[in-house]
């Protein structure tokens, strides 16, 4: 697209304009058919050696009639062409004099205008192609459209060529160098020759891609041009990816590269580019980027992709990344997205979240917690499966095994007392806990009374999801019941007592912390 922009807009640099050269166009005159008739070119172009522009086509219709009188040759109706409008700054007389002053052999018309092969008729001449210039100036430029060519040496800038039409500008050829990615990325470097650029380009050319064109001094030096503005209407810029962006960790370390302001970023990126991932985060570098108005180019549209640090199981394993703050979560996420999964444990059944909210597509579907993928739209081009909540469908009947395995810690989001125990009470699971009939519930273990200690120490969270603390105090209090110590061999009573003697008092002193009346 960029190539089209450059081609369309223009420019083509100047030398290309050699094709338009200021030399007169043959305008259909059949030079070859008249071979032998004219001893010199000056018979028809007498003004050239003297620099008399009005005599570049000195031939007049009466000259033709000398032969084309209807008898010897059929009559013709031919008028000498007018000189084509051009941006060439070449002057025949000046050039001839310079050559003479340099002591070089005198120029003849055929040196530039042909014929360029011995096999061609002597009169097979025409516009001087750019190669004619390069033939002598090879020490200065390897070819007409070469990258090192100084366009302004032969061609006037657009601003100095006001008579060139929009159509002529559109015909300017594009130098091959402009087609390369490297040129697109580096054309604004220190070696930028604005005079040459100005032969084909105006400020509007640059602003097609450069979102910050108005702030770049190099671009500001180029005058605006209404003709170029017409040519670039509807053009969409092209922004090749710099090598730095291809770095594996670019997506989450590019902030470190913004060391000298955002100007280089702003050539391609407007604020919406960053907002795709960074949301509304208050990042000064983002705020400094252009913010296009309606209809203005948005610049590079960055698709949201799975950041490199987001592992395949990131949705349920992001705790360490969040805590370590790398990358900064708030650069891409807002807190309400966390709350979608983390703060609404009270929803019923398959919980519901709108698709528009990112966490809504994090989980559920058919997968279980361990296989959740971070279903960002750009999961390396793997589109997401639409999902409707954190837990997978029908998690209600599955959660026993997952909770026992502590694959994720239930109490990170759910209150053991007000959620787990409350629900287990509603569903009847805790019936009998208070009056000691709970043993009938654990009917899968015939020796439950003797073995429950093992189960309790391995799965205390499960016990607490049904039993109140007082359930255990019937036997394990130091002040009543069977007075069986629940402490394990490594229990550090002193350490705990220093921090919460009141907790010790529940069993040891009878000074239980009970709700105030």
């Amino acid at each position: 697209m960029m190539r089209r922009v450059l081609l369309g807009t223009s420019v083509a640099l100047g030398l290309a304009a050699g094709a338009l050269v200021s030399m007169t166009r043959s305008d259909g005159f059949p030079h070859g058919d008249h071979a032998g008739l004219f001893p010199t070119c000056l018979g028809c172009h007498s003004g050239i050696p003297e620099g008399e522009e009005d005599q570049y086509y000195s031939v007049i219709p009466a000259d033709c009639i000398r032969c084309h009188d209807g008898e010897r040759e059929e009559t013709v109706n031919w008028n000498a062409p007018t000189r084509t409008v051009s941006n060439m700054v070449y002057d025949h007389l000046e050039h001839i004099n310079e050559v003479e002053a340099a002591g070089d052999s005198a120029l003849v018309c055929a040196d530039c205008h042909g014929p360029f092969a011995d096999s061609l008729p002597r009169m097979d001449a025409g516009r001087a192609p750019p190669e004619s210039c390069v033939a002598c100036h090879a020490h200065e430029v390897s070819e007409h459209l070469a990258i090192e060519a100084e366009c302004s040496a032969c061609h006037a800038s657009l601003a100095d060529s006001p008579d060139l039409s929009v159509e002529r500008l559109a015909e300017f050829p594009e130098p091959p160098s402009h087609e390369s990615k490297a040129f697109l990325l580096e054309h604004g470097g220190e070696e930028l020759a604005l005079e040459s650029c100005a032969v084909c380009h105006a400020r509007e050319t640059c602003s097609t891609c450069h979102l910050n064109a108005a702030t770049l001094e190099e671009i500001r030096q180029l005058p605006p041009d209404e003709r170029v503005a017409q040519l670039v209407v509807g053009n969409v810029g092209e922004w090749p990816e710099p090598e730095s962006h291809e770095r594996a960790d670019w997506e989450f370390t590019h902030g470190n590269d913004i060391t000298s302001g955002s100007q280089s970023c702003a050539s391609c990126h407007a604020e919406p580019s960053c907002r795709t991932c960074h949301g509304s985060a208050a990042v000064p570098e983002i705020a400094a980027l252009p913010n296009p108005g309606a209809g203005e180019p948005l610049g590079v549209v960055v698709p949201r992709t799975r950041p490199p640090g987001h592992l395949p199981l990131f949705a349920t394993q992001h705790g360490a990344a969040v805590a370590a703050n790398m990358p900064s979560c708030s650069s891409c996420h807002v807190e309400s997205q966390c709350a979608e999964c983390h703060s609404d444990p009270g929803r019923v059944a398959e919980r519901v979240a709108p698709q528009g909210a990112a966490p809504a597509n994090v989980s559920s579907g058919t997968a279980d917690a361990e296989s959740y993928v971070h279903a960002d739209p750009g999961f390396r081009s793997l589109p997401p499966e639409p999902r409707s909540g954190y837990h997978p469908a029908n998690f209600l009947v599955r959660h026993g095994a997952e909770a026992s395995a502590v694959q994720t810690v239930c109490s990170d989001c759910h209150s053991t007392e007000a959620f787990c125990r409350d629900c287990h009470a509603s569903t009847g699971i805790t019936v009998g806990v208070a009056d000691g009939a709970g043993g009938a519930f654990h009917d899968g273990q015939p020796n439950w009374f003797f073995e429950h200690g093992v189960a309790a120490r391995q799965g205390m969270e499960g016990c607490a999801s049904c039993h109140q603390q007082t359930s255990c105090l019937r036997c394990h209090s130091a002040k009543a019941g069977l007075r069986i110590s629940p402490h394990g061999p490594d229990f550090d009573a002193t350490r705990v007592g220093l921090r919460s003697s009141a907790s010790c008092g529940i069993c040891h002193t009878g000074r239980q912390l009970v709700p105030a009346p």
Partner: protein, 492 residues
């Protein structure tokens, strides 16, 4: 100092003031963006009820006997035989309404956020359905490049999890790449958006705290260039009457990028019980451009707050190894994950030497998801067995997108569950449909499913069919100041 410090957040006047601030008429730099959402869910359930017969009416003399239909009963000789059976079907209906809004005040860096939730349940069956209103968050935020100050009901995200509290926090990041944050205020019961002494807790436990808690802590962290980052957090919670600590914990997290390998090390330490609750080392590395492997070694011991006695029972933890492979081929729209884990519990020093309680567990899983044009499909199978419970089952799901945001999908599943402590083998088979439609700023999600539940070891319960329906309608409003238009896929 009131133990009911959350009250002011429930005050209509206070909320109105907050909302007024948030909904300031848009001017330059001012604006409001948010979402309102109504979600409803319906499901059928059969609560368990205890049943009994006189001991003499149940054949046999053992403690465990079987009723004529095969149901196991636990008997006390000369007294009763007891068992649990499923009761009649109950219909449960819960609706929640939510408002999330962010207001930009027009003062650079100063914004306000609120997240309110109202809940209505047809009865008290579903947990927390009596919590008719909760303030999930409501705070003012002043965010500048070097620091951030936040005050109100706010969430913290650190090595100790994601939780909210009422108070203030100050984050200083002016010494880039280091940062430090301090915070303090009144603590809230996790997952409740309510004080520790809230009725929701005290109704569930007679030993619940009679006063609230105070929380304060600090976190410090930094980045080592592009190599990695880490943080350390310390937190202490005490009763508002300062009679005792509630928690005292430390967490550390580190993450390093070694070429294309990501290494994470994280831990949570309970200072009160001198116990490492969580220690996790995870390594993720690509084997090929399409295949990634995640290996993890983990130690887990449960954490209990000091107001409970659970920690004094010396719960033990387990060590676990996990291995997961994730393969994807984007040009085919295909992704496959598979893996497994094995865990082994520490010695409990309890029970008989020949205990039949399992002290290990394993799991294996495989999932595949595919997307081709507007069509998508996924399937998975999972086996999990070990201490506590087991289950084996798989799911299939297929659907079609209509545009980027709308879809409809069908799914089916079949799961077998077992309990280790209770005879409770169940076979659950179900089919369902779900979908979503997005029209402008409106989103509508809905789904319905029917499950057949076959309690194989409990003939008295028999088979029954459970229905579930859910729906959600949300509307997003407003736009951030200065944003001309939203960018597809982002800009939230």
């Amino acid at each position: 100092m009131s133990d009911r410090h959350g009250v002011w957040f429930r005050s209509p006047a206070s909320l109105a003031t907050l909302m007024l601030l948030a909904f300031t008429l848009p001017a330059l730099g001012q604006g409001v963006r948010g979402e309102v959402r109504v979600s409803s869910g319906f499901l059928e359930a059969r609560p368990l009820v205890r049943d009994s017969l006189a001991d003499a009416d149940v054949p046999g003399t053992a403690v465990r006997r079987r009723l004529p239909d095969g149901t196991v009963a636990t008997c006390i000789l000369g007294n009763f035989c007891r068992w649990f059976r499923a009761d009649e079907v109950e219909e449960i209906f819960v609706t929640t309404q939510e408002l999330l809004a962010t207001g930009w005040t027009g003062i650079q860096g100063l914004s306000t956020r609120v997240h309110l939730r109202g809940r209505y349940g047809s009865d008290e069956f579903w947990p927390q359905s009596t919590q008719e209103f909760e303030t999930v968050s409501a705070y003012a935020d002043y965010d500048r490049s070097d620091f951030r100050v936040r005050a109100g009901r706010q969430f913290r995200t650190d090595g100790l999890g994601y939780y909210n509290f009422d108070g203030a926090s100050f984050l200083w990041r002016g010494w880039n790449p280091w940062w430090i944050e301090v915070y303090g205020g009144w603590s809230l019961a996790r997952g409740l958006n309510a004080s520790r002494s809230d009725d929701l807790v005290s109704r569930a436990d007679v030993l619940a705290p009679d006063v609230g808690g105070l929380i304060f802590g600090a976190e410090a962290g930094g980045r080592l260039g592009r190599i990695g980052s880490g943080s350390v957090s310390y937190q202490r919670e005490i009763r508002t009457d300062r009679l005792a600590l509630i928690t005292e914990r430390l967490a550390f997290d580190a993450r390093a990028f070694l070429n294309r390998t990501v290494v994470e090390l994280s831990g949570e330490y309970d200072w009160a019980y001198n116990q490492l609750n969580e220690l996790r080392l995870r390594v993720n590395t690509p084997i090929t451009s399409r295949l990634e492997v995640v290996a993890e070694a983990r130690h887990h011991s449960p954490f209990f707050e000091l107001w409970t006695i659970w920690g004094a029972f010396s719960p033990v933890g387990f060590n676990e190894g996990r291995l997961t492979l994730a393969w994807s081929k984007p040009d085919l729209g295909l992704g496959i994950q598979g893996g497994g884990a094995y865990r082994d519990y520490d010695e409990t020093n309890a029970g008989p030497a020949n205990s039949t309680i399992r002290d290990d567990g394993w799991r294996a899983f495989a999932n595949a998801n595919w997307r081709g044009g507007p069509w998508f499909a996924s399937g998975g199978y999972r086996a999990e067995a070990g201490f506590g419970a087991a289950r084996f089952g798989g799911d299939l799901r297929a659907g079609r997108f209509f545009g980027d945001e709308s879809y409809v999908a069908l799914r089916g599943s079949r799961t077998q569950t077992f309990g280790e402590f209770r005879l409770n083998e169940q076979l659950i088979s179900g089919v369902g449909i779900d979908g979503a439609v997005q029209i402008g700023e409106f989103s509508f999600n809905a789904g319905a499913a029917v499950y057949e539940i076959d309690a194989r070891e409990r003939p008295v319960d028999g088979k029954w069919t459970q229905a579930r329906v859910y729906s959600s309608l949300s509307y997003r409003f407003g736009i951030e100041p200065g944003v001309v238009s939203r960018v597809a896929g982002g800009g939230r």
